[in-house]
């Protein structure tokens, strides 16, 4: 087999083989940016929870929307079940991470400074889990 034929066949053969072997999505810069952006917005919003919820309801909706966009983006990717499930846990209003934090803020009207301070590292960590998995996904092949 001559060199030029080999250079044509090798990428085709390799692509065909590799395409069928993935079990998880590859790293996606957009998903990473959305997750890190949502984290920053969520943590800033948490600091406002000593005030009344009604005074910040527009900001709450804006952050909810940012997170919803990140979630929907990840939901649209193939082989991305773990990340999607992580977003669902993080944003669930009936849960006890960021979604639950917003529910409790709304129900109680405002939260104590120490209650926010003790909760914040867990919310930060929850976002970090999503971000760490994105970073750990295989890097896409360059053409």
């Amino acid at each position: 087999m001559n060199a030029s034929l080999r250079s044509v066949l090798l990428p085709i053969f390799a692509s065909l083989l590799l395409a069928g072997c993935s079990t998880i999505a590859t790293y996606d810069k957009v998903a990473y940016d959305k997750a890190t952006g949502a984290k920053a917005e969520a943590l800033i919003l948490m600091d406002r929870a000593t005030d009344s919820y009604s005074a910040h309801s527009k900001e709450v909706e804006a952050v909810r929307l940012t997170i919803a966009k990140a979630y929907e983006y990840d939901r649209g990717r193939n082989l991305n079940a773990e990340t999607v499930k992580m977003w669902e846990i993080l944003r669930a209003p009936e849960g006890n991470l960021f979604g639950g934090f917003l529910r409790r803020w709304r129900e109680k009207g405002s939260l104590k400074p120490d209650a926010i301070a003790i909760k914040k590292p867990d919310i930060e960590q929850a976002f970090d889990e999503i971000i760490a998995l994105e970073i750990g996904k295989p890097k896409p092949k360059k053409d």
Binding site: T23, L90, N96, D114, A115, G136
Partner: protein, 107 residues
């Protein structure tokens, strides 16, 4: 083309690749679990103090405890995803070794 030789070589290199990749994964997972337990212990200890001092409410404490469970679930999902990523990297690595070996053997 000596396929037996090629397979033997690829198998040897695959073992090294697998050993490195999965050892890293296991080490990282163990460290992750240890860090989580330590952070949870410290956080719950501090929360219990704040509760005793009346600086947080009982429902704040309960929410914190339940949040640790949610966080543990998220960590497990992350580890499952990272394990899949390691498997993909390994599989693709072995295929690349095989492809390289076959094409290198073609005169």
């Amino acid at each position: 083309m000596d396929f037996d030789r090629i397979l033997k070589d690829v198998l040897g290199q695959s073992k090294d690749l697998g050993r490195t990749l999965f050892k890293q994964l296991a080490t990282q997972a163990a460290k992750d679990a240890t860090d989580f337990l330590k952070q949870s212990r410290d956080s719950l200890k501090r929360a219990a103090l704040l509760l005793a001092e009346g600086k947080i409410d009982p429902d704040d404490f309960e929410d914190l405890v339940r949040g640790k469970r949610d966080l543990a679930e998220m960590r497990a999902l992350k580890q499952a995803g990272l394990a899949k990523a390691a498997i993909d990297t390994f599989t693709n690595g072995v295929l690349n070794l095989f492809i390289d070996a076959v094409f290198a053997a073609i005169p």
